[in-house]
Subunit: 313 residues, 2 copies
């Protein structure tokens, strides 16, 4: 199969939302007047972000999901994506599964794949995603205010626990692993939440490098500090049973949203969670100063040195 | 150096053309009313597109240049780019040189680097580029008409000859190699030409996979054939001296433009070449039917089987 056959067979679908999709030097996209473009790019590398033998369907899903998660954290409506792939060989079965996972998620969010590149090399998947948002409503990292509540969607730590099991660092029962592995392999981008938070949340970020590290980006950008109630952090039954604090605080790959909102809007936030059927937990407060202080049930500070994932540390 | 320090030090510059640049979940971009976005992505992989010990400054240039070349082929004004990098290690010197080469070319074309991703893995460079163009003036591949002339900018084959020398397949003198190597390592995207051709050329493509392969894409998209005069193909003195037909016809990495225009506009095309100081050569005609026929000085057909670069063939 040639490079062009491969693109035609696996990556060329209808692009009703684009003027011109795959197959020219560029795609042509008509932006919605009055909105601004929200753009993000994420690269997934075999051996760094996933195991070389990862299920290709799940990998197709995750490759798009981590990018949709960035749009969600900005409150943007997903529109288009490009996909560049480097592959060791043109494996037709693998590509069929990968593209099926990718396009299933794309269809759910109305995302058109409008362009890409396919080349030979170590397995590497790079998506650039495009959404649209009103400039005034975009959920930036810099809008946290002293006194705001800090919220987290879903649960934290499941993906990190599943990874620890796969790496032999913990030993889960089959049913425990199965429930955690969903978070690791098929993360659900919180697009509906991000859209609902427009005009309500002062700041937002998606949790990809670990809760403390990502909250830290909000604090840095906003010039504020935070007090976190460790026992308020939302955990699944499995993570609660296998309790390891570091998975909650610094486990990566959760793709939940962390956001801030005024105390006066507490009930509105809870109502959004009910409406979209996603638990939202208030886990702390924005305070003056800088740094993030995590307290246990007795009010004692928990040591959080070295939390968060960094590819080059 | 951490991942975040690395991004801050090497890849965070002012982004006067963006509402929000590097450092949030997404960049925010305000598109120009009345224009459409032209988007393209290209991935360069160590060992496939360049030698692992390639000069990082040149690589920074080329990584952006090949993407600008796609905008040029669409007649789009360059605006923004994202850059995702996978690196084996955080090599400060390498990154300083790479980013210097990237930003020098970005500055020349007013491109803001608005986002990216930095991760650990085999060396891989993925740029997504954004330009703007009037939808009616975009230079698509599908607009070639029977009777149109076929044009090529600059010269063909220099990059392929330089690569052949580096791979030991030919032996060039030092001065010969130096003159060819510029085409391979520091290709000049033909942005000014693409912009000048709006409203004039019926179709255009950039020559990255080889002249015949890329012209073939125009022919396929337009449902036409072509007659090419081999002796009219533009070559540098070195390529003429070291004459190997395959470098001209199927050598990749030239990043010149191939375009079609009505015969009635022949003089206008030549005038554009003079104005932007870039030789433009009329190399053949669009004909009815399909296929591309290349004739030598005696009018005999040249065998062109297997021309063009394909990553998976």
């Amino acid at each position: 199969m040639s490079e062009f056959d491969l693109i035609r067979r696996h990556f060329t679908r209808a692009t009703p939302g684009a003027l011109l999709g795959v197959g020219d030097d560029c795609a042509l996209l008509q932006a919605t007047p009055g909105r601004v473009l929200a753009v993000s790019t994420d690269m997934l590398v075999s051996g760094t972000h996933f195991f070389p033998d990862a299920d290709p369907y799940g990998l197709g899903h995750k490759t798009l999901a981590v990018n949709l998660s960035d749009l969600a954290a900005m409150g943007a409506v997903p529109r288009w994506a490009t996909l560049a792939i480097s592959l060791p060989a043109a494996d037709d079965m693998w590509l069929e599964q990968f593209s099926a996972g990718f396009f299933a998620l794309a269809a759910r969010y109305g995302v058109d794949l409008v362009g890409g590149d396919t080349t030979r090399g170590p397995l590497n998947l790079c998506v650039t995603i495009f959404g649209e948002v009103d400039a005034q409503q975009a959920l930036r990292r810099s809008g946290a205010q002293v006194g705001d509540e800090i919220w987290v969607s879903g649960t934290l730590g499941d993906a990190a626990l599943a990874l620890a099991h796969m790496q032999g660092r913990v030993r889960l029962e089959d049913d425990e692993f199965a429930s955690c592995a969903v978070a690791l392999h098929q993360p659900q981008p919180r697009v509906a939440l991000g859209l609902a938070l427009r005009g309500l949340a002062g700041s937002a970020i998606d949790i990809s490098d670990g809760f403390l590290a990502d909250l830290g980006h909000i604090l840095d950008a906003s010039g504020v500090g935070a007090e976190i109630d460790f026992l308020a952090l939302p955990v699944s039954d499995v993570v609660r049973r296998r309790f390891v604090a570091s998975y909650l605080l610094s486990g990566g790959d959760d793709y939940e949203l962390c956001f801030t909102a005024p105390v006066s809007r507490h009930a509105e936030v809870l109502a959004i969670g009910q409406e979209i059927d996603l638990p939202l937990s208030c886990v702390g407060r924005i305070v003056a100063g800088h740094g993030c202080f995590v307290r246990d049930g007795d009010g004692k500070l928990i040591d959080t040195e070295g939390a968060g994932y960094d590819h080059f540390r």
